[in-house]
Symmetry: C2
DNA sequence: CCCATTAGTATCCTTTTTGATACTATGTTT
DNA sequence: AAACATAGTATCAAAAAGGATACTAATGGG
């Protein structure tokens, strides 16, 4: 399972992990994985506590990694749409697996407390 | 898929993610998921570039989350063994899914460069 | 008595990540 | 002419993560 363990960034798991780590990235991905294009401000409203700066940064990183597309409509005021790519959709199994595990883990923690 | 999106830490995906993020955590988990108990120094040798500090910190976090057990043998020099728990084993699907995706992504990146 | 061994701690420092806040461009509307 | 809307930047500050290095305890062996 491990390859290149000298530097973690050569490890296949870590390569995958790096696509989804970032304080708000899984949440952004989750919204976009529903398939519809979303404007910057729509995402901002869906994720109220994110700062514009972090939203921009995460979106730019995901764009650079072919996970989403950024489409600028030459209008004023500006309109910019973000949409998941086909390649980005391949991340779905990772997020789904994590979501299922996370749900169970929340139960696990409740038991521990009692 | 999203629940509690106000604070990312309430999101099920993020809960799962938090178990495996940390520079060396997936690598530690990968070694322990093979099932055998490993001593501190054995892990250190398997992961040469990790510092003792980070190894200790990651192991303690994983222990606290019921992912592994820490067994101290009262000997001198000390012997401490770390072993994955049954609960920790349930992380396997996440890591396997990520590993498969990571492998494909490395190919994807190669194509992009050429 | 001194050294080696193991599994750590303690301290300080650097890097990375995230946050707060203010600012910008530019057409449209009032 | 001023205000508004959108999608950002820029700058500085704070917090979190990680790294470097030195130190420790206890005992067995030489």
């Amino acid at each position: 399972m491990l390859n290149g363990q000298k530097n973690p960034s050569q490890c296949q798991m870590v390569v995958a992990l790096n696509m989804i780590v970032g304080k708000w990235k899984p949440i952004i991905l989750d919204h976009l994985l529903r398939g519809e294009a979303l404007r910057f401000n729509e995402l901002k409203k869906l994720i109220p506590d994110i700062t514009q700066r972090m939203l921009t940064m995460h979106l730019r990183e995901l764009e650079e990694q072919d996970i989403l597309t950024r489409t600028v409509y030459p209008q004023v005021p500006p309109k910019v749409e973000y949409q998941i790519t086909e390649y980005g959709m391949t991340l779905q199994p990772i997020l789904t697996t994590m979501q299922a595990w996370g749900a169970k883990h929340i139960e696990h923690m409740k038991e521990k407390v009692q």
